[in-house]
């Protein structure tokens, strides 16, 4: 039922991507990152299947939604059924305060009301009537206040509570729920009211496993109250710039911790020293902290450490030899630091590395030789570095490489030959002005490519012939200005494409739209700054999966796109001009 929006119990509090700032797999990088592609590749990787037969259960649920005002109570229904009706009403945004009353005493378990419009304190009475059945509630983004939160006091079995972005909940609210000792997951991101006193209310929540306090600027000195939470495995205080070294001291005994996120806090090397006993720690995110390589000394004892994010830390080469001791690391993010190729010799022995980010570091060809033996590397980020063609020869043996970003490097066509044996590559970013058709011709072996970014490369019509090798391509960007309708014809057989960006090719006309009319998997299409006209829009009627269409600076009006949307493209949610 409603597969897209029904959330399973264990996903109640949205799992943050633990590799935030580490993995670039689904984030746009390179030049197109500033264009604000609204649909992520992740969402487009979902293949739309054929509509299957609705179950009788589904049909009944739709029917109930249709006649919802005829029902005054669902409390006679078994819990699992009323839960499904509730979820459907939330998902379809049909729930309101009067309909909610029918769910009084329904013994519901999960109330996923995050970001639900109109949700405020007046709803809390019915919510609390679920009593000891209630296991999880998400009220993030609601107008619930401290008195509202008080209603949860009697829901003794509550395991997961999320009130992210609730800017009216304060220390008083936290004090009211300090008896919910079955809570395992608690999250209140971006709260400007809660202070250390509020955090002290959490000291009795001894079953807490996961605590998320991201962007709570006033919790200075509060972490000391977490000392007794011996089951705590995950703590996120990213972007709490009141968190200091003293707070790290408070965490020193929390030896169950597996994930600690302190990005953009005031923690320094001195604070990191307190973490040396956290021997289960697998993930440490220190992005944007004022730490130096000296802090690595404290981390060498952490055998479990797999993910380390040190991007934007102003790291220099000083003391970088300590990296060589972090033998177990799988993911290392060193992006946006003042480090040079000299540091790479110390990474040579980190043979477990699968993901290395050196974005915008002062890395050049000399350093690449030290990466040659990192055979487990799957993802390598070299964007905005000084790496050039001669450096690439050291990468030619990295056969597990799935994602390589060479945007804004000085790599030229000649160097790309070195990549032709990297048969595992799925994602390649060659957004650099000096790349041309000749470079592309060297890559036709890479038949597994799914994402190819040639945004600023100077690809012409003759270069598009090589694209035919990439039958699995899901996303393609060629925006260098050199394409005409003739080149676009070569794209028409790439039927797996879900994202196509051909903007800035000012010679493209309606004929190009005709060529791509068969790419029915397309979810996002951009042909801005071209000679496309309203008359050409008819060719897009077949693109039933299209969600985003961008035709800025073309002879196309918003009204015509709206007509197309109304008549033929029901899935279109975002379009320009608008």
């Amino acid at each position: 039922m409603g597969g897209a929006c029904s959330r399973k119990r264990d996903q109640q509090v949205n799992d943050d991507n633990l590799q935030t700032g580490v993995s670039g797999r689904y984030t746009k990088s390179g030049s197109s990152k500033w264009l604000g592609t609204s649909i992520s590749k992740a969402s487009m990787d979902v293949i739309l299947g054929k509509q299957s037969c609705p179950s009788l259960m589904d049909l009944c649920i739709y029917k109930i939604r249709e006649d919802i005002n005829k029902y005054s109570t669902f409390s006679m229904l078994p819990r699992d059924i009323s839960q499904q009706i509730f979820d459907d009403l939330v998902c379809s945004q049909c729930l309101n305060d009067s309909i909610l009353k029918a769910f009084r005493d329904c013994a519901l378990q999960d109330l996923n009301l995050g970001e639900y419009p109109g949700f405020n304190d007046s709803w809390m009475d019915v919510i609390s009537s679920q009593g000891s059945s209630l296991l999880s509630i998400d009220l993030s983004g609601s107008d619930v206040t401290d008195p509202g939160l008080n209603y949860l006091k009697d829901c003794k079995n509550l395991e997961a509570l999320n009130f992210n972005y609730c800017d009216q909940i304060s220390d008083i609210g936290l004090d009211q729920i300090n008896g919910l000792s079955n809570l395992t997951t608690l999250s209140f991101k971006r709260n400007n009211l809660i202070t250390a006193e509020g955090i002290s209310s959490l000291s009795g929540l001894i079953n807490l496993v996961k605590l998320d306090l991201e962007r709570c600027p006033k919790i200075r000195g509060g972490l000391v109250h977490l000392k007794g939470l011996s089951k705590l495995e995950s703590l996120n205080v990213n972007c709490c710039n009141c968190i200091t070294d003293a707070d790290m001291k408070a965490l020193a005994g929390l030896t169950s911790l597996k994930s600690l996120q302190i990005a953009s806090s005031k923690v320094t090397d001195k604070g990191v020293a307190f973490l040396s006993a956290l021997n289960k720690l697998t993930l440490l995110n220190m992005e944007g902290c004022s730490v130096t390589a000296a802090c690595l000394e404290s981390l060498t004892a952490l055998d479990a450490l797999l993910y380390l994010n040190l991007s934007r830390c102003n790291l220099t080469d000083d003391g970088s030899d300590k990296f060589s001791k972090l033998q177990n690391l799988k993911v290392l993010n060193l992006g946006f630091n003042e480090i040079s190729s000299a540091i790479l010799v110390h990474l040579k022995g980190l043979t477990n590395l699968e993901n290395l980010n050196l974005d915008s570091c002062r890395i050049n060809d000399e350093g690449m030789v030290h990466l040659a033996g990192l055979f487990r590397l799957k993802c390598l980020e070299l964007s905005d570095t000084e790496v050039g063609s001669s450096g690439l020869r050291h990468l030619s043996g990295l056969h597990n490489l799935e994602s390589l970003n060479l945007s804004f490097t000085v790599v030229t066509d000649v160097g790309l030959k070195r990549l032709s044996g990297l048969s595992s590559l799925k994602s390649l970013n060659l957004d650099a002005r000096q790349i041309t058709d000749a470079g592309l011709s060297a890559l036709t072996n890479l038949t597994g490519l799914m994402h190819l970014d040639l945004f600023g490369a100077r690809i012409t019509d003759s270069g598009t012939n090589y694209l035919r090798s990439f039958k699995k391509l899901r996303s393609l960007e060629i925006c260098g200005g050199g394409l005409t309708d003739i080149g676009v014809k070569n794209i028409k057989d790439l039927t797996s494409l879900t994202l196509l960006n051909l903007s800035q090719n000012s010679h493209l006309t309606d004929k190009s739209l005709e060529s791509i009319s068969g790419l029915t998997q397309l979810v996002s299409l951009n042909i801005s700054n071209s000679r496309v006209t309203n008359a050409g829009l008819q060719h897009l009627k077949s693109l039933k999966n299209l969600k985003s269409l961008t035709l800025e600076s073309c002879k196309v009006t918003a009204n015509d796109i709206k007509k197309l949307q109304a008549m033929d493209l029901p899935n279109l949610v975002s379009f320009r001009p608008e």
Binding site: C53, P54, L56, M57, C60, K63, I64, L77
Partner: protein, 97 residues
């Protein structure tokens, strides 16, 4: 009764003889009819539902056939009377349908 038919019996004892293929739309009935050596239902091709009324069981049988049609490409609307919805839903839940 032919082998490719099954008999579904309501709470009031009313009998519905339908295609086995149709009845198997229900995961619960499928399990009863196919699990080796488990249920007596497997042998006799008869299933009794002491908690499902005749009206509801009739509606469910209609759904089975509608579902087969739908799967073969005939996508019509399945009408549900408002007064039956809740009871039908409980039965659908039991039948994994």
């Amino acid at each position: 009764m032919k082998e490719d038919m099954v008999k579904l019996i309501s709470a009031e004892g009313f009998e519905f003889v339908i295609d086995k293929k149709a009845a198997m739309v229900s995961q619960t009935i499928r399990n009863m009819l196919t699990s080796p050596g488990g249920f007596a239902e497997t042998e006799h091709g008869e299933v009794t539902f002491p908690e499902i009324s005749t009206t509801i069981l009739e509606k469910i049988c209609q759904y089975f056939y509608w579902s087969l049609q739908y799967a073969s490409g005939k996508e019509t609307e399945f009408h549900i009377e408002p007064e039956l919805t809740l009871e039908l839903m409980m039965a659908a839940n039991y039948l994994h349908t």
